[in-house]
Symmetry: C2
Subunit: 762 residues, 2 copies
């Protein structure tokens, strides 16, 4: 029996298996970019990972660990005791089970018919949603009906005895119950001193005896009542979340924020106490509708999986981003799990941002503003490493943090020692990736205001870093970039990673171009930046070094070497791993040092270069390199398949493209019940959108502007998606034979190259 | 069906119910006084409280919390996966289940026949023990046999993702695997900076593929193998524990202790890797035998419950004490749970110590030496409160800690606010209780060496505290002790609690007596103490105040008022709570403030005074007061029933005595499946021994020396117990009609009063 069902706008778990709970917790995560709540079940199970996050509340659990997004007190658990027996699906008998998440409204629904061990037949229904209307609000509803008279106990509250895999982030816990029902739980992060205020209130449709129950870090209300056979019990709970890092509290003095948060939490919980679940839901649903109107993608196919996948992506893309707060980025697992500690990587700029750039440019701008605020940490990191300019952290947490990549990970399978993590030290390409994203954003949106206020400064500072990073190799009379990790993280300490060198060159060239442009066309900005950054010095340095920067060219077989040594490495048959269901399998057989010695890539590396710059090499060289590297790429990163799918489509490997596409949409949504345990893969989800729109839809920006060169899969009859180009809102429809029609919904006329021909969309 | 079975030396859980797991975790706790490991099952269950403690490793989780014994990384879990299905008793079908703890060897055994959800019949047996031979060692063995060929995965290691109800005590985690099998986990407490080293090694009787698995705070070995039908798989695991607070490491410089602990842990684990389970068990078993030889109590009865109860007490009394380490006390829950945070209370001196004083005097001495080292904290507390001398902390943790009573507890049921805990501030009688225990110990053992080195100093300092504590009430021209909590903790802020005032007077009198004695008989000690403490000043102060100390006398009805206001309080019918199965029920109806207004006691208070001083009042007054207060006492403390049982027996209320006795032995061992969740009740367990020996056995010390006035219950044909009196080891046997015979096993002749007649035991 298939575990997952796909219904277009709805994904469904069709039977309960305790082994799979982590998968559903993650992919059914609810949120709004401010909070994220994994969809852990109301009743507890062994192995559950019950996480709730408030964006931006980063904390260091201890001196020897890095900042991470702390798991705050849980509000989602509801204990139900029927005639003395606690409801749990591992006991008794499940007669009916179905759980679904509506991707268009954010509501999850679980319907159960359960026979308790003592023989009571119980009908249960659990609904819940995180409001998109009021981002502080989480609402739950439980309906319960038994076939005989029973004693019921329902206990629910706020449980602060949670950790991040054992690491505790909170101290100074304060618990309180107002008027016997309004529960308040206040805690403060141990190092960053962020206070979190959580309030909850429950209500029932029947009279019940209620007592407050307090544990060390817990607080609950316990309701006891008698329920008649076939009488419906309705239990509702509203939970609200505030933190002293909340954007709307920044207008208060730091000392006043906690009091203000407490006031607001209590006011909100009292205000909504008596508003019906359905009312609260409607106001959230209408915001979802608005969002989907701007984002909706329609595919002409009967394949429900394909239809669901894009809705799944659009759902998670919305709940992963705090749309209006430029102090927070997007975590590699968004707000859906503890994986990667809530940190932002290049994933955001190269895999997630394109969606926002083309569909919600105001959100893309917020995210790129975040990177501007990151300049503080990036300058810090550059200094620490002995470089100039801005060297972006490989992993980034709070807006002014520097590098937060952990220094160590799990045990090496050969030596038994813990393994050093090098990415934070030597994976440098992110400083160019961010520049690429800015440049791309600017080309799509024409947002000169962003460039003047933030973009140019980042580009100059990034270029300065690269110029200072280059190493002069005397015997070759050229500059090289040695000892780095490229996108292929199997290869540590490589020299002249092609991706890195080209991206560095691109960044420096862009700085020169901007310098020239500003000097001649925008003297005011030029002078201001020059005063601040000494642009002339940057220009000089680049002009001195860039012409001698080594850029790896195709060898005699036409292959661009991924790095100096890659093409000399031992060959390895990786079909065993490529066809395996579970990723990461190769680490069970080879350790990092060994993997360094084989011609095998974790993910798109040189291919990524071909993807970002379509005109860097001629078509045949690009195609040849794609084939060469695809054969050696394990896609052992969720970032990889979507890139390959787009290029496979471009190179007309239709079958391969569709297979890679199916693989890419399956990273979280597919039948692998383990791969998403620690959270969904944000970049992969951005990649899903990319295949639909940039791959099959053929959307691309080059020096001429926007191109649409679609290649619709033969399985589809049409594809429809929105685009916002230079402020104009468009609806694009691709039909059989790649026929393109574009409707302008809003804004000025724009020029677009459709299959190579310039058209004015009026 | 009865859940618990009592087999004299064995207690048995006869069927599995997830609701009861916490009870068995606690009462089946294994340990040796150095480590304590709750008997959580090898497989995880929702609601489990999986604790492992190393005595003395106290730490403050955060600035606003008090020191507590931290829950260290778990070594007991073993994950077993059969054909892809994880073994768990809540799934599949249980065909046979039995779990027992052998109270005479410390080994627990669980036999199960389980039908997996996929239909495999699995026979499982789980054995484990904590060694009494090598206190660093914990050993487990799992036997497994299936009725068909299966794939087996066994995963076990070290899991540091544990907390104390959500509070995390460790940082600076280091994990390592040596030679692919020796797992090492090192962690350090956050505030007290105690490093804990835990090593483990597993072995199987079959070849298996093994890979190390590491999580953030976890480390395990994962074995995969194929098992044929009816082939027996034997899995063994040895776990070892060291900490930088270990007594044997104190000879090393502080900086070297961690390295030494690592060395020792690794050496031990390698040394014993290939020693059979049975061998390791035998060496521990033989130490248990030695212990029981010295402690055994035999009751002539067919009532297995009564026979089991004393073995249960002797078992827990052994595993609760680190016999050779005077830097650690006994926690109110021993090492069996997080309740009371591992802190020591008066419980030790008045309820647990008598057992050791009469049976293992060398251990009693160690415990009283601990109180000598506590003087540091006691002097600190006195100073903080503006008193002189030594004011013992109500709750005590590490040897030189001051007061560690938490300041707040759970919510007040009326106001919803958290409740302030007053005991640490105003429950003062402990400073006299400790003196009483020292005096009693000295009378039983004649250990003058203890007195000279430790005892006298404590007594003088305690007496000085009391003298400074007295308040002169001008209009009554007398001293009073106002604003205290007596043993009855329902009554906060009372004046002239009889127990407290009499105990204070007793302490000061004893100091005067000792002053006089030392001055005239032991000038060397006198001078040394006088130099250090200024004994003459203490004497002067006491002589000035003591004659005017108010000591409540029986009123016109012969009742000694528990405190100034007690006899004027409102009456309350407490039969509802007295007969209730669960204690603490009254707090659901009344809050602390309300309970203050009723004539109801939580536990023996004035009765305790009658218990400790048999000659303070005449027999009739004592009896009348016992009857009066017993009627108003809820026994809402596990310390209470044993005291009342002993006195009821003395006053010839035979039926009541036996009922109270049955109640007292049922606190942990009885059918209440919730009362021991947070750990066993150490004082209650000491109290069990007290009823057998001090109650029915009639053992008592008065000014003449040791008395034996037995009153054997009519249900018993005889009672046999050991006693060590003034260094002589005796075996006492009571038979029908309270006939007493005493056999001297070792030591000099001693004089004993048997039923009022002096006899010389040769």
């Amino acid at each position: 029996m298939q575990q997952l069902e796909y219904k277009g706008r709805v994904i469904k778990e069709s039977f309960f298996n305790r082994k799979n709970i982590n998968k559903y917790e993650a992919i059914f995560t609810q949120g709004n970019g401010y909070i994220g709540i994994r969809n852990s079940l109301e009743e507890h199970y062994v192995g559950e990972i019950r996480d709730t996050f408030i964006t931006g509340t980063f904390n260091k659990a201890s001196e020897d660990e890095v900042s991470e997004l702390p798991n705050i007190a849980d509000m989602s658990a509801v204990k139900i005791i029927i005639d003395g027996t606690e409801f749990s699906l591992t006991e008794g008998e499940i007669t009916f089970y179905e759980r679904s998440l509506d991707l268009s409204t954010g509501e999850s629904l679980r319907n159960i018919v359960w026979k308790s061990p003592s023989g009571v037949r119980v009908e249960l229904s659990f609904r819940r949603f995180v409001s998109l209307y009021n981002e502080h609000l989480f609402v739950q509803k439980v309906d319960l009906l038994c076939d005989s008279d029973v004693d019921i106990i329902i206990e629910s509250g706020i449980d602060g005895s949670v950790t991040n895999s054992g690491a505790m982030h909170f101290e100074d816990i304060k618990r309180r119950v107002y008027e016997g029902k309004y529960m308040e739980y206040i805690s403060r992060t141990t190092q960053s001193k962020v206070s979190v205020v959580q309030d909850a209130v429950c209500r029932l449709n029947k009279e019940a005896a209620v007592i407050p129950v307090m544990g060390r870090r817990t607080l609950a209300n316990k309701y006891s009542l008698k329920l008649k056979a076939n009488e419906k019990l309705e239990f509702e709970k509203r939970s609200v979340f505030f933190s002293t890092r909340d954007k709307e509290l920044t207008v208060f003095l730091e000392d006043d924020r906690l009091e203000e948060a407490k006031k607001r939490a209590l006011k909100l919980i009292i205000d909504i106490e008596n508003t019906e679940y359905s009312e609260l839901f409607k106001s959230s649903e209408s915001v979802w509708k608005e969002y989907l109107k701007k984002s909706e993608i329609i595919v002409g196919t009967d394949d429900e999986y394909v239809k669901t996948a894009i809705n799944f992506a659009l759902y998670h893309l919305r709940i992963m981003v705090k749309a209006d707060d430029n102090r927070v980025g997007i975590g590699a697992k968004a707000l859906s799990g503890e994986g990667y500690k809530g940190h932002s990587f290049w994933d955001t700029e190269l895999f997630i941002l394109p969606y926002f750039t083309y569909t919600h440019p105001e959100i893309a701008r917020t995210l790129l503003e975040y990177r501007y605020h990151n300049l503080y940490g990036a300058r810090l990191k550059a200094k620490e490493h002995g470089y100039e300019g801005a060297m972006y952290p490989w992993e980034c947490a709070w807006v002014d943090d520097g590098e937060v990549t952990p220094l160590y990970m799990g045990a090496d399978i050969v030596t038994g020692e813990i393994t050093k993590i090098w990415t934070g030290l030597i994976e440098h390409h992110i400083t160019a990736d961010i520049v690429y994203a800015i440049d791309h954003y600017y080309k799509v949106t024409n947002d000169i205001d962003y460039m003047e206020n933030y973009g140019y400064e980042i580009i100059f500072e990034a270029a300065l870093f690269w110029a200072s990073r280059l190493e002069y190799i005397e015997d070759r009379d050229r500059y090289e970039i040695r000892d780095v990790i490229g996108p292929d993280e199997y290869k540590e300490h490589v020299d002249n990673n092609a991706y890195t060198n080209y991206m560095a060159a691109y960044t420096m060239k862009l700085a020169l171009k901007n310098q020239d442009y500003l000097k001649n066309n925008n003297r005011k900005i030029y002078d201001a930046l020059d005063l601040k950054l000494d642009i002339d010095y940057i220009k000089e340095l680049i002009e001195k070094k860039l012409p001698k920067l080594y850029l790896p060219m195709p060898d005699k077989d036409g292959i661009i070497p991924q790095s100096d040594t890659f093409l000399q490495l031992k060959k390895l048959d990786i079909s065993k791993y490529k066809n395996a269901e579970a990723v990461l399998g190769i680490y069970n057989d080879y350790n990092t040092k060994q993997l360094n010695e084989y011609m095998v890539s974790k993910q798109s590396d040189t291919v990524m270069l071909l993807y970002l710059f379509r005109d860097l090499f001629d078509y045949e060289t690009r195609k040849k390199n794609f084939v060469f590297y695809e054969d050696k790429t394990l896609h052992d990163s969720s970032l990889s398949k979507s890139t390959h799918a787009v290029l496979a489509n471009e190179f007309k490997f239709e079958e391969m493209a569709y297979k890679l596409f199916k693989g890419a949409i399956s990273v979280d949504l597919g039948p692998n019940m383990k791969s998403s345990d620690e959270g969904i893969h944000s970049a992969s989800i951005g990649g899903i959108w990319a295949i639909y729109v940039l791959g099959f839809g053929g959307v691309n920006i080059d020096k001429n502007g926007l191109n649409i060169n679609p290649r619709l899969p033969k399985e589809w009859s049409f594809l429809e998606f929105p685009l916002i180009y230079k402020g104009s809102s468009l609806r694009v429809r691709i039909e059989k034979d790649n026929k393109v029609s574009i409707k302008k919904l809003q804004g000025n006329s724009v020029e677009i190259y459709i299959k190579g021909e310039k058209q004015l969309i009026k």
